[in-house]
């Protein structure tokens, strides 16, 4: 099975988010859920570009971004691979980045009138869902 089969990347031109960032985020969530495991190769640029009907520049930009974030590495002549322990950043820096994202989600929760307790429950729920997915992929691997 190739990575492309499992990951099912898709782009949405109506989201207003740059297309390359959509690819970056989807590969990061595939890595988090276990759909893409460390050492596995990413689809090469041309077939992925053709499948998503986007310019290869877009995919190349997404891969360059993932590489600079330390999520993937490029082995010359072999392609791009998911790195094992993928953040090169110190723990403090990683926490700081996460805090920014959490703050944004909290602001969104406020405007959507989702109270604190419900928000925290939602976070737990989403974590459970992610772990369930990880177990499913691990299970599929061991078969």
């Amino acid at each position: 099975m190739t990575v492309g089969d499992v990951m099912m990347l898709q782009v949405n031109f109506k989201s207003g988010k740059p297309v390359y960032l959509q690819v970056v985020d989807q590969i990061k969530s595939a890595a988090a859920s276990g759909a893409l495991q460390s050492g596995e190769s990413l689809p090469s640029i041309r077939p992925l570009a053709e499948e998503l009907r986007v310019n290869r520049n877009t995919i190349a930009k997404a891969y360059a971004e993932l590489e600079s974030q330390g999520v993937i590495e490029t082995l010359p002549g072999k392609g791009c691979f998911l790195k094992a322990n993928h953040s090169p950043l110190k723990k403090d820096a990683r926490r700081k980045m996460l805090i920014e994202e959490i703050d944004q989600a909290i602001v969104a929760a406020h405007h959507l009138q989702v109270p604190r307790g419900e928000f925290v429950d939602l976070v737990r729920e989403r974590f459970d869902l992610l772990e369930e997915k990880q177990r499913a992929y691990d299970h599929a691997k061991s078969e």
Binding site: V11, F13, K14, S15, G16, K17, P18, V19, Y20, R46, A49, E50, L52, R53, V54, N55, R56, N57, T58, A60
Partner: protein
């Protein structure tokens, strides 16, 4: 040669066939390795612009440069670096696909047989067939194959998909562009004119919208989708008749309100929230919708 020259540079280009200007004071620049779209309705001046790049027409005013070269002074050098696919392709109908490709290859210093084989296979083209018996879509496929095999640094496509059925259109354009950019992507530039924007949505890096010979908008594709938003609100009562600053178009229909925002989407959304709508959504415009909104 200076390798930092853009693939295409057009400065204040003006061209007139008779009294009316077909292209008026057009300026744009296409960086190497990009896929650049020239969008416009029929008669907007797209083909005239292409023809000035090819030295098929001489600018009345302004100048064009291809890799820093004047197509009029250095025609052979310029043509060696590019391939052009016009909107209507014509081949000698008595030649087979094989003979046509060999004939076209004879004008080129370089011809990549692997790309040729790959594309003939993907398009399921029969090399032994006479080109006179090909459908319009198949002729375009042969023309595109012939444009890509020399691996030119610049590919000029003038309405490459007009007149083709939607399935064929969707299928082959990304195949062709993917094959073209496969080797040395930093030096593979595409300049494509079209009014059928949807199929190029994901392929375009940057574009210019032309109207009546003039450039009315030049923008990166991602920036365009970030900047232009369609905002919809539904109210419990008839939609309020409030002015929204930064709204390009406003449409009221009973309890519903639809606005097209240009860069001020977030402010408009905030303003709408204060009016307590029942529902409020916003989404990016596609490039085709940006095109339509710009020309309205």
């Amino acid at each position: 040669m200076n390798t930092s020259n853009p693939a295409i540079e057009i400065n204040h280009l003006t061209y007139a066939y008779s009294k009316a200007d077909a292209v008026q004071d057009l300026s744009l620049s296409v960086a190497r390795g990009k896929c650049y779209g020239l969008f416009g309705r029929n008669g907007a001046g797209k083909t005239t612009t292409m023809k000035c790049l090819l030295n098929l027409l001489r600018p009345r005013a302004g100048r064009v440069r291809v890799f820093g070269l004047d197509p009029n002074q250095r025609e052979v050098e310029v043509k060696r670096k590019l391939a052009y696919v016009p909107d209507a392709v014509a081949f000698y109908p008595w030649m087979t696909v094989r003979e046509t490709l060999d004939y076209l290859a004879s004008f080129r210093a370089h011809w990549n047989r692997d790309i040729e084989r790959d594309l003939l296979h993907r398009f399921r083209l029969n090399a032994a067939q006479k080109t006179g018996a090909l459908s319009k879509g198949q002729k375009t496929q042969v023309a595109l194959t012939a444009a890509i095999c020399p691996e030119p640094e610049l590919l000029l496509l003038d309405e490459p998909t007009s007149g083709l059925d939607p399935i064929v259109r969707r299928e082959f354009i990304e195949t062709v562009i993917g094959a073209y950019q496969e080797s040395d992507p930093g030096n593979r530039t595409i300049f494509v004119s079209t009014h059928l924007i949807t199929e190029f949505e994901g392929l375009i890096d940057e574009f210019t919208v032309m109207d009546a010979g003039r450039a009315v908008l030049t923008l990166g594709a991602d920036q365009a989708r970030e900047r232009y938003q369609k905002i919809r609100a539904r109210f419990a009562n008839p939609a309020p008749t409030v002015e929204f600053k930064g709204a390009m178009h406003t449409r009221r229909d009973g309890r519903e309100l639809e606005l097209i925002a240009n860069g001020e989407g977030p402010q408009i959304v905030e303003q709408l929230k204060l009016l307590a709508p029942e529902s409020l959504t916003s989404e990016a415009l596609t490039l085709e919708e940006v095109f339509v909104a710009t020309l309205k």
